[in-house]
């Protein structure tokens, strides 16, 4: 094993020729007569650089529409994080020449001999990947940064240091410490690409734990060396009175190996995930449009994913509000994990969930210019809409050409009107509706709608679609192939699956379909979506279907479904679900502070002008010195929002234990992955909690793992783990034993949603009644409703 691991080093530097001349790693030492110094070149523990490095969770942004991006991240063009730019072959930034998983680890010892220039020695110098830029810095230079100038500090403290090496794009993290009152200083030094600097701060708990462990194992090595008066130790004492022999790495292979493995497996992946996974932006509750769209998204979800009787979403929201919201904010060991094969659906759910989570953004929101454009468009569309409503004619749906289409493109918000082969049915009857089945042209199918089967078929539809894995999700919003295109791109490998899906679609057509619902609402359907799009289809700017049962009655389960239930009609046919055109300057982790600081600097420091502020001088006396009171206006100090975004993210390819809210593909191991990471948390925390949401089976589970100490002692070694799993929602039904608070919250959410749905009805229909509300009053009430949901817990206590 030893020979295997250190085979290269046997040749003493000559094989480390790659950077021999400029790394200086061996020359300095080889010139010395004493050969025991050897070459502190890298140890070849495990080199897995052969595999091509990819972003840690794939580039999840590639498959996202602009609309969704702005909903989740508050900007359409999320700037690729600097560490991600490494993967981009087109990147011209020369700063990013260091691969994100490269690091260099140095263990050095400084002897007490201040006179000698070479008063230090490198015990271990490990670089990965080989030949990396990091390798090129000479240890003698690094030593300057690690140990500082020859002026020695009088205290023998343990010092942690993080700094950037000038002109190199490398940062070093170092810990220097003393062992047992010796004057020798030992140092653990880790070099990383400099773009990790803010990330290191954030992951300091992990990094410092690693430093602690490394320090402990070095100390144990030293104490083991001391015990028997071994020849080695004597030799070492004679030479330079070093604590660690230069060939310690040969003697204690397993110790050093575990130090490096911990680095490779824990620290570097942690830093990479923290820096490479974009985080959600939590919109402030003051933004009206956010509240409105949030409600609409909730209704959309309930129609399409929950159906009339399922109160899956309201239960889920209630659980999060009651049991998770507070803890997610403060605790690192609380998680919400959504397991689903469908990226777009999970992102929808994440969007809804993130609406109720804290901490919300507090600062100002900048709207882009497009906002004005949009509002003018909306006005136009409104006028179109009113014209159409006045028509009482019953239109037949005619499809002259299967390729002609009416597009309500979310990007352009253009709504092309009835002259292109379509006419708009204006019927409002919920009982008899028209439907076009997807594959046929010239279809005129009029079917009565049946609510009960509708809900079931929707559920089936979901279940049949939700488990498809694959990478073809793409952005639905831009491409809409018709059925023939669909057939082309369905590859032979998944053709079975697509036929299954087709079958399920036909089944749903016989009963009730989304299209029917839409048609029943009296709105022109768009061109029939291809089968594969069904799952997502009605999400973009399409009308909300009418037949979602009044959710309050759903709880009192015995009531029969009334087919004349209040239709939820929102203005969303004309109003694109497009987000507020907000653009926040941010990177993957943080909101940029530059603009805020620029403004504040101008106000507070008034560069280039005379500083005019209130000054009063209090002369000094026996008790205190003179004080110059300087006035700072409160309004100059704008409330600043937290720049660091919480670790909530969207759909990821793999489960990532460092993120508190995420969705990831469901498979057999997904639950155990979460639970394993929870158990790992318990090495630091005493308590870990997770909400596991399985979208395909409609399960919600709450898992808590606690440490229980035996005999009530806080002895860290004598504890057992107690794991509790509470099924909150199972097989499409909420469990009976929910707590009272939870039940109250569910009821509140349902009644609030009911009220909100009334508020969100289109103006024209509510105008019939005399109780028409003004826009402002409507918005105000909506806001109140939203707040009553998200602050449910606060109002109770």
């Amino acid at each position: 094993m030893l020979a295997n691991l250190f085979g290269k080093n046997g040749l003493n530097g000559s094989t480390a020729s790659l950077s021999d001349s400029d790394s200086g790693s061996s020359s300095q030492y080889n010139s010395k007569p004493s050969s025991q110094y050897g070459s502190p070149t890298s140890i070849n523990f495990k080199d897995d650089t052969s595999s091509i490095l990819r972003p840690i969770s794939g580039n999840i942004l590639d498959h996202m529409s602009d609309d969704l991006k702005s909903k989740l991240f508050a900007t359409k063009d999320l700037i690729s994080d600097i560490s991600l730019a490494y993967y981009d072959p087109k990147s011209t930034n020369s700063n990013i020449n260091i691969s994100p998983d490269s690091f260099r680890l140095l263990l050095t010892e400084e002897t007490g001999q201040m006179v000698c220039r070479n008063n230090y020695r490198v015990v271990l110098d490990y670089v990965t990947p080989k030949g990396s830029y990091i390798e090129q810095i000479r240890p003698s230079e690094l030593k300057e940064y690690i140990f500082g100038s020859p002026v020695r500090s009088s205290d023998s403290l343990e010092v942690d240091k993080i700094r950037v090496i000038p002109n190199s794009n490398i940062l070093i993290i170092s810990r220097t410490f003393h062992v047992s009152s010796k004057i020798n200083r030992l140092a653990i030094c880790l070099c990383l690409p400099s773009y990790y600097l803010p990330v290191v701060m954030e992951a300091w708990r992990q990094v410092s734990t690693w430093l602690d462990n490394t320090q402990a194992s070095i100390i144990s090595i030293i104490s083991r060396l001391k015990k028997p008066p071994s020849t080695l130790h004597l030799q070492c004492d004679k030479e330079l009175s070093c604590l660690l022999p230069a060939d310690a790495r040969f003697q204690f292979v397993s110790e050093f190996e575990s130090i490096i493995l911990a680095l490779q497996r824990k620290i570097v992946p942690c830093l990479r995930s923290i820096s490479e996974i974009p985080r959600l932006f939590l919109y402030p509750t003051t933004l009206m449009k956010f509240v409105e769209l949030w409600f609409k998204d909730v209704f959309n979800w309930m129609e399409l994913k929950d159906g009339p009787r399922m109160n899956f979403l309201s239960t889920l929201l209630a659980i999060i509000i009651v049991n998770f919201k507070e803890e997610l904010k403060s605790s690192e060991s609380t998680r919400i994990a959504i397991m689903s094969g469908n990226m777009v659906v999970s992102n929808k759910l994440i969007n809804i969930i993130s609406g109720i989570l804290e901490p919300k953004y507090k600062g100002p929101l900048l709207h882009t210019d497009e906002d004005n454009e949009l509002s003018t468009k909306l006005e136009q569309l409104d006028s179109i809409d009113t014209v159409n409503t006045s028509s009482t004619e019953i239109h037949m749906i005619k499809k002259t050409n299967s390729n002609s289409s009416i597009s309500v493109s979310p990007a352009s918000t253009k709504y092309q009107n009835s002259n292109k082969g379509w006419e708009i049915p204006r019927r409002r009857s919920a009982h008899s509706v028209a439907s076009i089945s997807s594959g046929e042209s010239l279809a005129e199918v009029i079917q009565p709608s049946s609510l009960k089967s509708g809900s079931n078929s929707l559920h089936q539809l979901y279940a049949s679609l939700s488990n498809n894995y694959g990478t073809s999700y793409g952005s639905w919003f831009n491409k809409r192939p018709n059925i023939s295109q669909f057939m082309q791109y369905s590859s032979p490998s998944n053709s079975n699956e697509s036929w299954d899906r087709a079958a399920s679609i036909h089944r749903t057509n016989s009963g009730n379909s989304i299209q029917q619902l839409r048609a029943g609402f009296g709105i022109t359907p768009q061109q029939s979506p291809s089968i594969s799009e069904y799952d997502e289809y009605p999400w973009f700017g399409t009308p909300n279907s009418p037949h979602v049962e009044n959710s309050a009655t759903a709880t009192t389960s015995n009531t029969t479904v009334s087919s004349a239930s209040v239709p939820w009609t929102t203005k969303s046919i004309t109003e694109p679900n497009r987000m507020y055109n907000v653009h926040i300057e941010r990177d993957f982790q943080r909101i940029s502070q530059t603009e805020l600081l620029d403004d504040a600097f101008d106000k507070i420091c008034k560069p280039g002008r005379k500083l005019e502020c209130g000054l009063t001088v209090t002369p000094g006396n026996m008790i205190h010195a003179g004080v110059l009171e300087i006035e700072i206006l409160n309004q100059d100090c704008v409330e600043k929002s937290s720049e660091l975004l919480p670790r909530y993210t969207s759909y990821l390819r793999n489960y990532n234990s460092w993120f508190k809210l995420q969705a990831f593909p469901a498979n057999n191991e997904s639950e155990s992955k979460v639970i394993t990471s929870m158990k790992k948390d318990l090495s630091v925390y005493s308590y870990s909690k997770a909400l596991l949401i399985s979208l395909s089976t409609r399960d919600i589970k709450e898992v808590t793992i606690k440490k229980e100490y035996k005999n009530n002692t806080q002895d860290t070694n004598s504890f057992k783990l107690i794991q509790k799993t509470a099924r909150m929602f199972h097989n499409g039904k909420p469990q009976a034993n929910l707590s009272l608070e939870l039940n109250n919250c569910i009821l509140l959410i349902e009644s609030t949603l009911k009220r909100a749905s009334e508020l969100l009805k289109p103006i024209q229909s509510s105008a019939d009644t005399s109780t028409a509300m003004t826009q402002e009053a409507r918005q105000e009430e909506l806001l109140k409703l939203f707040k009553s949901i998200i602050y449910f817990k606060d109002t109770k206590t």
């Binding site: 100038s149 500090s153 205290d155 000038p166 701060m201 600097f601 500083l611 937290s642």
Partner: protein, 177 residues
């Protein structure tokens, strides 16, 4: 110098009687014990006496100074034993503090450069006869100490700095709640 924002007082002082020792220790650490680079890159260090410190160094060229440059550091200190929570505070406000410091350093540099240009122009006007003699041999004899206010000719500099620091601290404190 003292300012109140809300109910919190922010004090700037030249001679701190309360934190004198801490201040000396930090100053000694930054200027002597560390290998400091004055290029505005951040250095973070932590130990049990000095707490967590974020230091940003910068230098101004001054022919009257030793080594022809004057070196300064802006330091942000959290005097706490709790390493984890100090680091968390720093992580939460990293851009704010870093950019805040950079902002002020940039201000000092700019003012200094524009001041230098003015000075050069006026030197050229007044003193056409001694173009190259300059500081060559006399250099070491004419080292005179000049402070930052004289260097950048801004009497209000420390008032501005005080106000800016108070603003930064206030931002960090508010955010921490």
């Amino acid at each position: 110098m003292r300012s109140n924002i809300g109910e919190t007082s922010y004090v700037s002082t030249q001679y701190s009687s309360i934190r004198y020792q801490l201040l000396t220790l930090i100053i000694r650490k930054v200027f002597s014990e560390e290998t400091m680079v004055y290029d505005g890159s951040p250095l973070v260090f932590y130990d049990d006496i000095r707490g967590l410190n974020l230091v940003m160094g910068f230098k101004l060229y001054d022919e009257h100074a030793r080594g022809n440059e004057r070196r300064y550091c802006l330091t942000f200190t959290i005097d706490s034993d709790d390493h984890q929570s100090s680091m968390k505070l720093l992580a939460n406000n990293w851009n704010f503090i870093k950019c805040g410091f950079e902002k002020f350093i940039a201000y000092i540099r700019q003012t200094y450069e524009s001041e230098n240009e003015k000075r050069e122009i006026s030197n050229r006007d007044n003193d056409n006869l001694t173009p190259l003699v300059g500081t060559y041999l006399r250099a070491n004899k004419v080292k005179i100490s000049r402070n930052l206010v004289e260097l950048i000719k801004d009497d209000m500099l420390f008032l501005r700095l005080h106000r800016w620091n108070a603003y930064l601290l206030n931002g960090i404190l508010n955010n921490n709640d």
